[in-house]
Symmetry: C2
Subunit: 234 residues, 2 copies
Amino acid sequence: MADRIALPPQLSQIPLFQGLPEPALTDILQHSQARRVEKDSFLFMQGDPADHLYVLMEGRAKLCQVTSEGQQVILKFAAPWEMIGGLAIVGGGIYPVCCMVAEDSRVMSWSTTVLEGLLQRYPLIAINATRWMSNHVKETQQLFTQLATERVEQRLAHTLLRLISQMGQEQAEGMALDITLTRQDLAEMSGTTLFTVSRILNQWEKQGLVEAGRERVRVKSPHGLVVIARDLKL
Amino acid sequence: MADRIALPPQLSQIPLFQGLPEPALTDILQHSQARRVEKDSFLFMQGDPADHLYVLMEGRAKLCQVTSEGQQVILKFAAPWEMIGGLAIVGGGIYPVCCMVAEDSRVMSWSTTVLEGLLQRYPLIAINATRWMSNHVKETQQLFTQLATERVEQRLAHTLLRLISQMGQEQAEGMALDITLTRQDLAEMSGTTLFTVSRILNQWEKQGLVEAGRERVRVKSPHGLVVIARDLKL
DNA sequence: CGACGGGTTGACGGTTGTCAAACCTTGTGG
DNA sequence: CCACAAGGTTTGACAACCGTCAACCCGTCG
């Protein structure tokens, strides 16, 4: 238990704890555990009992689902101060996804038992959880619809736009993504193969829309991608 | 408000109200509104303010999302005693989908304002809501992964299996679906076109797996569909 | 240096979407 | 009762899209 650590201002920004008074936040912080996790390790695997809720403090994590045939799908990249494994708020389930830490990171976590106590003391948390989950549902439904109706090129454009709006860094020219992102990762986020991603990215590079390096992508013209994502055909 | 209506036993089975004592259920029932809705009308449209939570008492409803290009995707068919528009539990949002009533039905509903009061009185509802939403997220994520990794034939098999497990009726030979279900509907549930659905269904009919009539499908061999869904290639 | 992991490119073909035409079923109105 | 319209379905031809596979390139690291 961490009781000398200063209350990080971001704690009140976490969807689950929004609107809580400061004493409650202190209480919550004192019941949290913090630890470092290194790149390529897993916070949890798909199918594990969902017994911990995590919040990323530093670093990146990716949430993926693996099919019975072994194909992997990336549902989401998580940036600092996002909740991971929100499912653990209600005990008794198992994680439907696995969470792989994409670079050296720090996380804080709460066990389901601790969360139960917090839920008792601060009923607002349950309301917040519902709101967070309903947003989560919305996002996932939108992803589904895009996957069902768009062609690969549009989906890849949407994927990149989502990434830069979530964690892109403004630059002189366009937006940069500071995460290591292989073609394979992009493929697994867009429901396609790394070959197709490679081809599309090269084509876009020739058109001056992006700069694609090894495990790196910079979006030079977000607007250009919007045009593609909407299928406005120039 | 309905205060002479007997407490329907199913009320306690609704995910949101599970575990509540009988007086609470009576209270909840008294704050509900019931009405008939006729086929092809809408409970709500995508983009409307999410101000009512519905429960289907009789009939069928489909939840769909329409893209900016006008393509439709069906996210789910709802059977009696399923919740619709669970998003309305937390006020202030807009429906991300629209709900079309697929046959003459009866629904009960609660406005967000009423729900707020219920949430105050029975905090368990918030917990239940979280649990329901997290299931919802799980389901949607699974749909997404299937759409991202499977070929049309497998997805269509999964769609049919989902439908019969949700509301199929056991029969001498296989399972019947008593809903009107066009090829177009199946296409919008599986992320494909009605032409492809038609072809696959005819092929399956020749193999004796299904019987496909106008707006009707009977699954004669669920097991056969499982084989296809898993891509076991005979 | 050689191994390795990520990336690129080309050839090929399967899966599916697109479109047009015709068919069938159902319900309606004369 | 028939004719007709409307909507669901089938089928074929065609081609676009995109996945598969093999070969190769390139930079990094031990």
